[in-house]
Symmetry: C2
Subunit: 264 residues, 2 copies
Amino acid sequence: MSSYLLNAGPIPTAAIIVIGDEILSGRTKDKNIGWLADQLSALGIQLGEARVIADKKNIIIDTVQILSNAYDLVFTSGGIGPTHDDITTAAVAAAFDVPVVRHPEAERRLIAHYENTDLEFNEARQKMANIPETATLIDNPLSAAPGYIIGNVYVLPGVPTIMQAMFEGLKGKLPGGVVMKRITVQCSTGEGNIAKILADVEAQYHGVSIGSYPYMKPGHFGTAVVVSGLDDELTTEAAKIVEREVRAFGADANIVHADGTIVK
Amino acid sequence: MSSYLLNAGPIPTAAIIVIGDEILSGRTKDKNIGWLADQLSALGIQLGEARVIADKKNIIIDTVQILSNAYDLVFTSGGIGPTHDDITTAAVAAAFDVPVVRHPEAERRLIAHYENTDLEFNEARQKMANIPETATLIDNPLSAAPGYIIGNVYVLPGVPTIMQAMFEGLKGKLPGGVVMKRITVQCSTGEGNIAKILADVEAQYHGVSIGSYPYMKPGHFGTAVVVSGLDDELTTEAAKIVEREVRAFGADANIVHADGTIVK
């Protein structure tokens, strides 16, 4: 996509790695990909891919190496808790060829956290103070156990509420991109009816891309057409042409706000 | 995992490829990975990984080639509709080095389907009758446009209701595996307290694996311990030991049914 972008500056790219057998077995439904995708879009960071992988050390090592070479930023979620099946830290350290070391500040935070509870800061929990050498901490405002950054890899926990709280604190420090303009045109007709219109408008407007997403609701069906691009004016113009052409075809079409109400 | 399995026969492995810019932008939240993960678990097929990738031809080709070589079965979802951004079929055909051809039976079904509607079977919709040469059709009981099987790759649509209806028809034809026994022990204590118990039990029972998933509900928190294995008896025994040991530690622990009620 960046080939079209004059004067726009580079758009940071990102990948997500969800680490967890419980997602692959179906036991737990992933919520982190969708949530992070929204956050990255809002920051102007382009999510290039997401992978769900097993709690297996070699697979984690390979995936971290491949994706940290291919993308500007990599976010992992899962596998940094106290139990034997939490092997993300050992694998990430191996991926960067550094040892895992006890991090004094992480340990201090965990000791302070457990002093306020009736939980023992036992050997299992001490494991959460172990971090790959050279990594810097990501604060955990909910349960103290930190995440960390090593190279371009951001290591976060799998529990959505904790992951989200940690990402919120991280947001301001991420390299921001140009936020893409994204306009939705709701069309009361099947996408097959307007496929040619959409292809023609996209071909006409360089740097604007058009996605088409059919929906079915009781009583009617239709197509959400999403027109997106970095150039505000060009994207808006393309969306208006889609609206006009779909109406000319004989269907209802309206540019809508994020909540689905019509833009006047 | 298969290294432990004596007399169990091979377990088929699978990968999922979700194809769609709308998932990566956050606009649409994926539901297909979680749903397919449940289905595959129930069939005794081991889901090894899932990837969400962009609507880009080269990326689809590479991903299909890599995963169809690495796994017994590959399921794709998304990108087989009538619009210009639906490029999955062109990419899958290229991955298998075959041309895309008009499939007479697919065309017949689509013509029959559109005759019953007020929709025109126009050029865009005719595209849905184009299938990679040598592929066989997957029936679509909802909206006629078929999916297809080529090599070990099962190509399905992205809309969850349609994908699910098509998968239901496919189920009986998939190579079944041995269904894993999976027992949940709900423990009213933090996973850090029982980490050593879990690691010890797992080390004791070859072929049994133990996952630990913390949960927080208003007023209390705890850990769902999932004990799984192919040997029914061994897995049940390991789960009972976990229950006993966690109680001996001083916390409440109960083997529960899928709906969370206690097994008496």
